[in-house]
Amino acid sequence: MSVAQWRRTPPEHAPGASAHPGPGEEAAGQAAVRLSEVSKVYGRGPSAVLALDRVSLTVAPGEFTCLIGASGCGKSTLLSLVAGLDQPTAGSISTQGRRVTLMFQEPALFPWLTAARNVELALRARGVPKAQRRERCAELLDLVDLGGFGGKRPHELSGGMRQRVALARALAQDADVLLMDEPFGALDAMTRDLLHEELERIWRQQGLTVLFVTHNVREAARLGDRVVVLSSRPGRVIEEYQVPRQGPRRIDSPEGARMAATITDRLREEMSRHGD
């Protein structure tokens, strides 16, 4: 596979995944997440900070999209907006009534509950009847390869296992769209590789739409169908890359490495423009 096979497309003509038409000509029901000219300003007056500047982004149902950018590019802000934890200053965000859930870099598990209870609480919050909760929770823990660890408290689990519980909890919310904010950023490379495989398997199995934020270029090239590059201060979409898929994905595959190199170059260019 060669570099030429990657379609490098400027964002204003960005298509979704190859099966989907671009945002311009697209039918209304086609996007799982659609951001139109979204801006976010923090603060007021002279101290106001423009975190996001007219970001338009469309994620197709079932698509795995990675958002990448240097720190301060508003990646986390963007996810908070999509999750509805915060309101955009301008522009609109539509998830077409799909359920959205957010996973953080920290597992954010409730330390007073066991792993299983953490997952069950998400089921309870959704109104799943008590009788079904236990069974569904066991299924979810099995899905993330944590069967038999349900009785452990978060502090008794390793970092990777905690993120697995957090993933199970996110899945318990029965969301169609999974937003992930650097979820594996604090893990060692080996654990991260394992979790990449798990996440890919679960994403395929459950037909999820994933919007995955990272500052790790390799990770983005490993996981994403599409990699969206954001500029820093203010965050703005500057580039999108389609990642071709043939055969199993691996973080150390030569295609992935070349893809990562291309994206890294683009990011460097962007950073030098900022002088930092």
Partner: protein, 295 residues
């Protein structure tokens, strides 16, 4: 390493490098180990008690105020004797009943005020600093007010106990609510926890450590107020610990006084131990104990 196997077999599935973070499996504690750790927790306390008795005895032997001051050799047998009489137990019963009533009342009132102040910004602006102010108020100040309002009755004592303990309990709860980690709040929000369920399943459990700390402090205030109250508000036909103290004071009975003081001290220590145990259990559950910490 088995990073590429799929479907991942169970044992290797979670064996990233982070596996090393897991401690060794918990060993079953043998009776000998339990006995040893119990002994290592007990002997410093026994030593402290022995030291106090020795100092007391030495002071007694110097003959200082020998016409009233009695040594442990007189006081401890007196205590032993009183423990075989119904009067002391009746007094302990009356005092503890007041303690439970007053503290229970303070717990309810403090918790309700705490949760309201934590939830409602206007209320916090209005009474937040008053609660802290009340905490610094010496409880003895309230007795004249209580006596004017309720006369020489149990109600007066309860009134002062509540005023002493409720602010600490309320403040503990408010602090706990304020210190709920924002990340957990965001996690709760994404999960769809709102309003009452948010409090029930996230904010209140998250505030539990600070709440228990407030309850512990509240108990100390309540117990002090109760003792002061029983000495100031003597109620006929209700021989409380305070009444016994007052009697012994009037009779210049040092042995009797010493015995009651020891009883009061022991009750205080026992209740404090309960709170410490609760606090320890909470911290252990949440993994907030340094590794290897026992008592």
């Amino acid at each position: 390493m088995a990073t590429e196997t799929r479907p991942t077999p169970k044992p290797t599935a979670i064996s990233g490098l982070d596996r090393l973070e897991l401690g060794p499996a918990q060993q079953r504690r043998s009776p000998a180990r339990v006995a040893r750790s119990a002994w290592s927790a007990t002997w410093p306390k026994l030593l402290a008690i022995a030291l106090i008795l020795v100092i007391w005895e030495v002071v007694h032997l110097t003959g200082w105020k020998s016409y009233v001051l009695k040594g442990p050799g007189t006081v401890l047998p007196d205590l032993w004797g009183q423990l075989h009489h119904a009067l002391l137990w009746q007094a302990i019963g009356i005092t503890l009943r007041r303690a439970v009533l007053g503290y229970g009342l303070a717990l309810v009132i403090g918790s309700v005020i705490g949760i309201l102040v934590a939830r409602i910004p206007l209320l916090r602006a209005a009474v937040g600093s008053i609660i802290t102010g009340l905490q610094t108020m010496p409880s003895i100040v309230w007795f004249p007010v209580g006596i004017v309002l309720f006369g020489l009755s149990t109600l007066t004592i309860l009134f002062v106990m509540v005023l002493g303990a409720a602010p600490s309990i309320a403040n503990g709860l408010i602090t706990g609510v304020d210190y709920t980690p924002p990340l957990l709040l965001r996690a709760g929000q994404t999960m769809g926890l709102r309003g009452v369920t948010l409090y029930r399943y996230l904010i209140l459990p998250a505030s539990l450590p600070a709440y228990v700390a407030g309850m512990k402090q509240g108990w100390a205030f309540a117990w002090r107020s109760l003792m002061a109250g029983e000495l100031l508000v003597l109620i006929l036909g209700q021989p409380s610990l305070g009444v016994l103290l007052d009697n012994d004071q009037n009779l210049q009975d040092f042995a009797g006084l010493g015995s009651i003081v020891i009883v009061i001290l022991v009750i205080g220590i026992l209740v404090d131990t309960l709170f410490s145990k609760a606090d320890l259990a909470i911290r252990r559950r949440r993994g907030l104990l340094p590794p290897g910490a026992t008592s």
